[in-house]
């Protein structure tokens, strides 16, 4: 659906995107993840034909974005970063205008406007002036606009930015619901979002792709040893030395003082297996109370931080 090869974009003085290569298959939901300024918006603008690339090629549904721009635009539904709408228009009026602009015929237009209003939960807002709507509803109007001409590909630039937690959840559900009929490329800098919505993540940093995989694989990619968190009521020093004695433990750190000691136990890399029973046995043996014992899951957040940090180091002077 999308084929990007060696995409480069240079603005006067700096390179926003460098040698980007990736493909997105039909029906996938792909998340574009990166800190602000990583080149997500630039890449999306190039995909939609709004900006030209400095170098490289982009094909969307088999059409070159430069030479067959009109074909490409007909195949794309785009929700830009700040979701700008004509605030003086009414919802239905706006969607009809956009649909007509995108070449829908009269009958088809009427049907589609009703369909997207229903799909995006705008049935009761049709007659409202866009400027009077809340941010969440405006975002839905933007999405309805992106959907109105039934594009094969949806490009959504930070679709949940500025929404409250409820609206974010509704937006995510909406996007997930689109996957059956559309290919979706969405960008975000919020990690739980890609974990919740995307099948595949492309992590972008300083204009390059630093990782591309499923959210769960990405987590495994950088797991260098399981960690266990435990809170035990025990004398600190004794607990530390006893914990270090457990076979397979590489490092033990204790936090907090007072009767309850929180220990973080890191396994040696060579060891696989669960050490939680060993910790439990240790507590039982000494008659210590145990109030928490869990495996520490690495969040995508940490993976992300690690990936983007690695990239930064070589460039530092």
């Amino acid at each position: 659906m999308i084929k990007v090869s060696n995409l480069t974009k240079r603005y006067a003085g700096h390179t926003a995107v460098q040698d980007l290569c990736f493909e997105v298959a039909r029906g996938e939901i792909v998340g574009f993840l990166g800190p602000n300024g990583a080149g997500k918006t630039t890449t999306m603008r190039i995909l939609t034909g709004y900006l030209p690339a400095t170098g490289g090629e982009v094909y969307i549904a088999g059409h070159d974005v430069v030479t067959e721009s009109m074909e490409v635009r007909r195949n794309i539904g785009y929700l830009p970063e700040h979701n700008a709408l004509y605030t003086e228009m009414r919802v239905k009026e706006y969607l009809r205008y956009r649909g007509r602009l995108k070449g829908l015929g009269r009958k088809r237009l009427r049907v589609r406007v009703d369909e997207v209003c229903e799909q995006c939960g705008l049935e009761h807002m049709r007659r409202r002036i866009i400027g009077h709507l809340s941010k969440g509803y405006r975002q839905r109007v933007g999405l309805a606009d992106a959907l109105v001409h039934e594009p094969e590909l949806l490009i959504l630039d930070e679709p949940t930015i500025g929404l409250d937690p409820n609206q974010i959840r509704q937006m995510r559900d909406l996007i997930r619901g689109l996957a059956s009929r559309h290919t979706v490329l969405l960008s975000t800098h919020i990690l739980p979002e890609v974990e919740a919505t995307c099948q595949r993540v492309l992590i972008l940093h300083q204009g390059r792709i630093v990782a591309s995989d499923t959210p769960s694989n990405l987590k495994e990619l950088l797991v260098s040893g399981d960690r266990i968190l435990a809170e035990i009521r025990a004398p600190r020093e004794e607990l530390l030395s006893e914990a270090r004695a457990i076979p397979g433990v590489a490092r033990v750190e204790a936090h907090g003082d007072g009767p309850w000691v929180a220990v973080e136990i890191t396994l040696a890399e060579s060891v696989s297996g669960d050490l939680r029973p060993a910790v439990f046995d240790l507590a039982v043996r000494h008659g210590w109370s145990l109030r928490e014992l869990k495996l520490r899951d690495r969040s995508l957040e940490e993976v992300f931080a690690e990936l983007t940090r690695e990239e930064e180091e070589p460039t530092a002077p």
């Binding site: 900006l51 635009r73 700008a84 070449g103």
Partner: protein
């Protein structure tokens, strides 16, 4: 073509949803109305021989609102889209840059024409209540309207061009106002004793002179060609400016 009409309709519609457009239309009509009342008064005082219609199009009462209304009507066109960010959704829809520019010009021109419509009864009122036939003639009236339309088209395209240059509406209005004044006052060089070449060139481009000619009922093809070709040139430049984001 369909995209053009869709865009044109939205541009025209935007004027009717904007308070600035109403304020400008009212300002224009108040001044024109005053101008008409003033001329009718002069006429009733017995100063026979005053060419009322040509005065309506050629006097300062025409030029002052014209020079203010045009920059204000056009300043929004591109600047607003850029500031709001709607330019991005507009330009990623399957429409060409040329279609967008032409539709915007057509939209503002249509509004401009609509703004003039209430002045049409002036001539008929005068005609109806005047016992004399001499001071009134439809020729100058039609000439005056053609002149106002042609000149409007050209100056509106300048305003559109300025709007495409910036994201700030005020900057756009001041730029187009300055360019229009330059043209307007440049035309007066014709009336001064200057080099023959300069005199001739400024005569060709003098809007004030053109309006005087048109509102005398004299139809000359030179201003027609001048305004149409200049408009085409400015539209061409505007399309290039809109394209610059791709450079």
């Amino acid at each position: 073509m369909r995209a053009f009409f869709t865009l044109w309709r939205r541009e025209l519609g935007a004027f009717f949803l904007s308070p600035i457009a109403y304020v400008m239309a009212i300002f224009f009509l108040v001044v024109m109305g005053f101008s008409f009342w003033f001329l009718a008064r002069v006429f009733t005082l017995g100063l026979v021989g005053v060419p009322v219609m040509s005065q309506l199009f050629g006097s300062l009462f025409f030029w002052i609102p014209f020079l203010i209304v045009v920059p204000v009507l056009t300043m929004r066109l591109f600047a607003e889209e850029k500031r709001q960010g709607t330019i991005e959704t507009l330009m990623t829809a399957p429409v060409t840059d040329t279609q967008v520019v032409l539709a915007k010009l057509a939209g503002v021109f249509t509004f401009y024409v609509v703004m003039w419509l209430p002045t049409i009864p002036y001539a008929f009122i005068l005609h109806h209540f005047s016992s004399q036939t001499a001071p009134f003639d439809f020729g100058p009236m039609i000439g005056g309207y053609i002149g106002a339309a042609l000149m409007g088209l050209f100056y509106l395209s300048i305003g559109l061009f300025c709007s495409a240059l910036t994201r700030n509406q005020i900057v756009s209005a001041i730029m187009s106002f300055s360019i229009m004044l330059l043209f307007f006052f440049g035309g007066f060089l014709h009336f001064l004793e200057v080099q023959p070449l300069l005199k001739q060139v400024s005569g060709y481009a003098s809007s004030a002179l053109h309006m005087l000619e048109f509102s005398r009922g004299a139809f000359d093809t030179r201003p027609l060609v001048f305004y149409l070709s200049s408009t085409i040139f400015v539209v061409f430049c505007t399309v290039r400016i809109v394209e610059t984001r791709r450079w």
